[in-house]
Symmetry: D2
Subunit: 347 residues, 4 copies
């Protein structure tokens, strides 16, 4: 392990992904946190927004500034979509590596990106250079990447859940279903009526059934990993809890898949952050609260031809900040688990 700490900056640290990144980075033994920026909160102490960090940092939010950021080895973007793409080229040109936790570099097709995100992409030439930061798929490419697109929360849970099964080749790739339930923190720390406790508590609802931005990301990822065009129905649901994603995945068998349990266990045998549960188990989101883990169980009800996969993550950890630190560890050749091996908080 290198003994020199790397210099790290965080752009846009006022959201939930930001505070979670700070929680992890401030305790990471190889990281020196040099700056955290927020245009709106510039000058404010970080701990005034996030009292859980009291005693951990004296940092204040700084105004975003490329020169400031370029002084770091690595910049995390924990910003709204459309921000990182404006600063990426200059930072890269100054040898500062980037992990973008937003969606700017997740899709390889600029036209598709514009279609789903509603704005023209500012640097389409970087899309092919960006590495999709799902370590279980792209670990080798991440190692040398200058620009990592950290996966979305739903896409992490859904892809990790489906990959072993799809790799078996015995499913109907055209009729996959991902019924996904997310805690409210997935909507971010923004003042919107729909996410008030009085609205979102004691309530369950689907949203964006007509089409959600994570759909093309999942399709692209599964297609890239399996070589098959993928037809997916993706229905996200707002669940009355703060953290957690539970993806319930359905696939139709087209042949005999063999021992599904063994297939899953083998597929993730060496993965530090994917945990395949025993046969018949039902993973709970609370078992990963605050932890950088995806827990998965595979079922074949009544030995029929529908396979059901249950996949849970903490949307802010393995679905965002934790996976970003995992990518950082890979990029800088630290132990991949360094600083992200906290045990989930239960109860």
């Amino acid at each position: 392990m290198s003994t020199r700490k790397i210099r790290v900056a965080v752009v846009g640290g006022t959201g939930y992904t930001g505070v979670e990144l700070l929680r992890l980075l401030l305790a990471h033994p190889q990281v020196e946190l040099t700056a955290i920026t927020s245009r709106a909160e510039a000058g404010q102490r970080v701990v005034d927004l996030f009292p859980n960090l009291r005693g951990r940092t004296a940092l204040r939010f700084a105004a975003p500034d490329v020169a400031l950021l370029a002084d770091s080895d690595l910049v995390f973007f924990a910003t709204p979509n459309g921000t990182a793409m404006k600063m990426a080229a200059e930072l890269l040109s100054r040898q500062t590596r980037i992990i973008d936790l937003a969606a700017d570099f997740r899709l390889r097709d600029a036209a598709l990106w514009q279609q789903w995100y509603g704005i023209e992409h500012a640097c389409p030439e970087l899309l092919s250079e960006a590495v999709y930061g799902l370590p279980e798929v792209n670990r080798v490419q991440i190692r040398n990447a200058a620009l990592v697109a950290n996966p979305g929360c739903y896409p992490t849970a859904v892809q990790l859940g489906l990959l072993p099964l799809l790799s078996s080749g015995t499913v109907d790739f055209s009729s996959l279903i991902a019924d996904s339930k997310s805690g409210v923190s997935g909507a971010g720390r923004k003042a919107e009526v729909g996410f008030l406790l009085s609205e979102a508590s004691e309530n369950m609802k689907a949203y964006a059934v007509a089409g959600h931005r994570h759909l093309p990301e999942i399709q692209q990822g599964l297609t890239a990993a399996t070589g098959h065009k993928v037809g997916l129905t993706f229905v996200p649901h707002l669940t009355p809890m703060i953290r957690g994603i539970h993806a319930t995945l359905y696939a139709r068998l087209t042949g005999e898949p063999g021992n599904l349990q063994a297939m899953y266990a083998e597929y993730y045998r060496n993965e530090p952050f994917v945990d395949v549960l025993e046969e018949g188990a039902h993973p709970e989101t609370r078992s990963v609260r605050g932890a950088n883990v995806c827990r998965i169980a595979v079922h074949r009800p009544q030995q029929g031809d529908t396979v059901v996969v249950l996949s849970v993550i903490d949307n802010l950890v393995k679905g965002a900040a934790g996976q970003a630190v995992q990518n950082m560890n890979i990029m800088f050749q630290f132990d991949e688990t360094l600083g992200i091996s906290q045990t989930a908080l239960l109860p």
Copy 2:
């Protein structure tokens, strides 16, 4: 409307279905509540268990006794499975009608019942006489029924959501999926660690993926209503809220179904307790909290061949006590909406 009140007794009123029945029956203008029984709580005032009923009733729990119950026009069983079947024959022989909110009379096949419920059925001869109390399907038969099997909570949400689509005939009946999310009150008022707030709050999990008792009930109902054998994958989830079921239903089209929105609106046009939302809508469970309503929306994402139906109910009302009172209204020729037209409590 008849002006004589009917005499009604409730067997086993100490659970959530029981208290909800009491809330509705105590305010029902045509009901005189004569007795409520509970072996465990006999002698105890009802309001000591359920303080929300203070000032509404002076009743005390009585020990269950057929003679006492037979003095009523109608007996509701809000008991665990396996209780009603022991008293039904005698009550019926004394001209007391029955609505069973448990599962004793839901399946028509005694062998199937035994397979799923693990006990031998005590009166299989009554199974063919019992009417499945889903008014939207069996209103006419309910009117004259002596014995009504009140549907389960999941089966109500799932069947009401799928029926219009299945009746179109243009779906693959063999690969239906019902991804269902229920509030914790569905587990009843029993002391089990898994349903403690500290366990079930801030958590989402599937359960009984291998097979849940509501599966054969749904299959029987859909088959009876459509004439097709139905293959269904049913995955229930425990959701961190008290009340509410959200069923997310997936069906594969085998032909062009026509205008789905119009089909659903037409199917339920005259139904007082099924509300088809506008195109593109997403029903919320809180919109039916405390109300005897099922709200439904139908989607066809990206005009593909998977139809997604969203169906929400309050598991304790349209999924249990409210539907039971609706059945009572039909059986005794009251206005079907009498006493169950409360507006949902929001927020």
Copy 3:
């Protein structure tokens, strides 16, 4: 009871108090709801904001307009503070009576009002005419009032809890303590980060310890009712639930108060909406969820000289909309319980 319905309008019906008023008024047998206004939502269907009201009303929000409102017998203001005072004089001059659910007419002293609410009062001359709408104290005056100031939520729970004890005269009036816990709906339906589920769930905190606007209202009310100057420490807390206020009240005895339990029972013997629990009981907020009731228990721990009173209400019902309808019933000589005798929803 009069058989003519009264014509009622609601100004500002887009908040939680508004939707709760609508729930109650739409089911009230003596009310014809003529208009509901909202500048921001003018033209929008009410049911699009509040899906629980689907099937109950075809109303759309109208722009606020005095002429429109003056066409009613009664106008409810469910608006932010500072709105009613601008329209009150004109409405009153047109013989339209008013119930203001905001704070504009709660304090009798215009200077004090300005000090706590930060704006100059628009019609101080009406303050002495307004009747403070706590029926248990001012029932007679409410009957003939043209302008009723509906009490705040905390003030309702705190005053009803303390009044019997203070009327005994054996407490130290200078050192009362009201430790009060409120559900998040008390903060209203406004987009603020602090009330997001992700912020307010799984969290407990006090706020406004330095001074809260309900403090002078409570002091004024207790002083008016008892003739004693009252010293009160009032600490509100934000509690992770939607509805409910739990006030825990502490008073120091200065003499022997006699039988506290009997005193409380007697004080509220004829009150339809105050329920004194048995000795040793602990009222729960859920026992009043959705109901127009205040439940109270009085304790004297270890027979010491500190009395502890527990007082719970639903902040949106007895603490707002329900009490407003109760006031309406009194003003128009309907049965006081008409339309507000719903049983609380439990669980």
Copy 4:
């Protein structure tokens, strides 16, 4: 720091205090966890009860056995009250030190203990030997203690909140009030109806107003620390959240206390786990979720003679397992913060 790990056993690790202890001990660099016992779960894998610990430990629950336990340097008792007192003498005689997280050794007076806990004390002779494990008060004595009585959760929050103020001597010691709110995990992991999500969610209630076992513990602690007899009214409340205690403390001034803010800051200046917030602040329980911290703010509303202190902890960490590890660190001369410096999980 010693480099030899100490051998540690946990008795009764199936409750919430137990799993929290395991979370902390399994990550503690100086601890070798040798055994965890549970009579009921003997033979069962720990991870089957607590899936958050998957991948952290291969331990199975063992039957409790003194010989097994005596093989350790330290035994934690995370058992119901009345268990530790039966094994303590023998363990101590074998040079195994003890930290009891239950109440067996918290009160110094065996008669008082019996009065509140309802059973005769099994080893009253050890009561005077036991050190009350509140490090901020008894750090020196803890260092050499063989037997540490880990404080209760409420007592930790209340005592840390009141100590600086009481030490000033300018308050009425006879009329202290501790209005305390606790998350449901404080009730433990036991199957009781009252703590079901369906009962405890969306609800607030006081309990045990007549007298709670933590009252004599707090009085004893405050009296020991200040030399004054203390009169305290203690009202605990069940709050709809999993973790957290919020104590709102009221004291009447009898003289001019000077600068309260400075007094608190100074009192805890060198304490690693007590954080005094800035003037005017309101600590939130979520700011300490999962962290071994007590955050405190002191207020004097309207400069009157009532002081309000707000004190928050995580009941399972600084209120139980975290404080126990802190005591262990002191007893074995590790850095006091070792293994318990995790940042709180927010949101």
